[in-house]
Symmetry: C2
Subunit: 192 residues, 2 copies
DNA sequence: GTCTATATGTTGATAGAC
DNA sequence: GTCTATCAACATATAGAC
């Protein structure tokens, strides 16, 4: 859990800021853009935040928290690793639907600033936990054994994460349908 | 085919420029960075190019050409659509291995500038052709019928494209192995 | 083709009044 | 908590000599 300080006024700005960051990109969004979009001047924005980088950090932390929670929650469930893996995939699709712009920012990070370096570390941590789950499912004999666990993990969640580039969920039913589609493709395969 | 004017001196700069764009991001790379990395001053760079945007356009055009060629080449082959689709997936992995930074730039485009808008159009065109191929494979009865063609297409090539984020091919054998892994996951599925 | 200036705009961030 | 005014740094791009 990445502890988030309880600054309420900041939480008001964040949704708007995150929308701008995801649409135009972090670098292409100026503090002036943010001020205008939130109906304030730049100075007013700086009264709430130490700078642009903190806004990014805050947004990414939200995505990290949500995705980490999925993993922690699934680890507590008994049963076969392959089923836990499928559950993580489904829950990840849900998180992505609920927190799209936040997850998008986490996935786009390149490591240029300190905040982005931190984000990359968080991602590596999540990746390690996912790989362990995949490896366990293979070891238990439920997944095919001819594929490398780290490769399978990245391909599988590369598929899930690619949703941020085009998917715009329209409701609870569409989320379930998308989770079904991804599980069908990745676990059962396209050929018949 | 996106006709590329035959300016040789420019082709010398492009690999270095594309490396910078993919590592730091387009916005975070200045003309000064480009000048330094290519051992020239900014003015010398401007003698070869009209501006930063043209460099991006040129790089993206290369990726578009390579990926379009894969589709055109596969369309000329007889046989079942599902086999052509599998072939396109394999060839896409190869193109990605050979032209990684160029393809990466194409995939990261957000549409902020004119060059990026053009790139998005090119991507839509490729996407349409891929979707038609998937739809044909379903219609011929070789792929499962419970999934939406556009969704399947984006998931399938979302998987392929996600490679740019982490894969660093080490030789011809590793490229074949990766193509095999993706085809195994997407066409046959992970469960056994 | 390359260089040394330099023009011109925009950026993130701060000072200080209200 | 919001404002106006402003700074210093850095951006893209150009002028003009060699």
């Amino acid at each position: 859990m990445t502890s988030t300080p309880p600054r309420r006024s900041l939480e008001e700005l964040l949704p708007t800021v995150v929308a701008l960051f995801t649409e135009r990109g972090y670098d292409a969004t100026s503090m002036e853009d943010i001020a205008r979009a939130t109906g304030r001047t730049k100075s007013a924005v700086y009264h709430h935040v130490s700078g642009k980088e903190e806004l990014l950090r805050l947004a990414i932390a939200r995505a990290v928290d949500a995705l980490s929670a999925v993993l922690t929650e699934s680890a507590a469930v008994d049963g076969r690793a392959a089923d836990r893996l499928e559950h993580v995939v489904r829950r990840s699709v849900e998180v992505l639907a609920e927190q799209q712009p936040y997850v998008t920012l986490l996935l786009r990070v390149r490591g240029n600033t300190q905040a982005e370096q931190w984000a990359l570390e968080q991602r590596r941590g999540i990746d390690r936990r996912l790989t362990a789950l995949v490896a366990a499912a293979i070891a238990e004999g439920d997944l095919r054994t001819d594929l490398d666990p780290p490769v399978v993990t990245r391909l599988l969640f590369g598929t899930v994460n690619s949703l941020v580039e085009w998917w715009r969920p329209t409701g609870a039913a569409s989320v379930t349908a998308m989770a079904d589609s991804i599980v069908a493709l990745a676990f059962t395969g396209l050929r018949r």
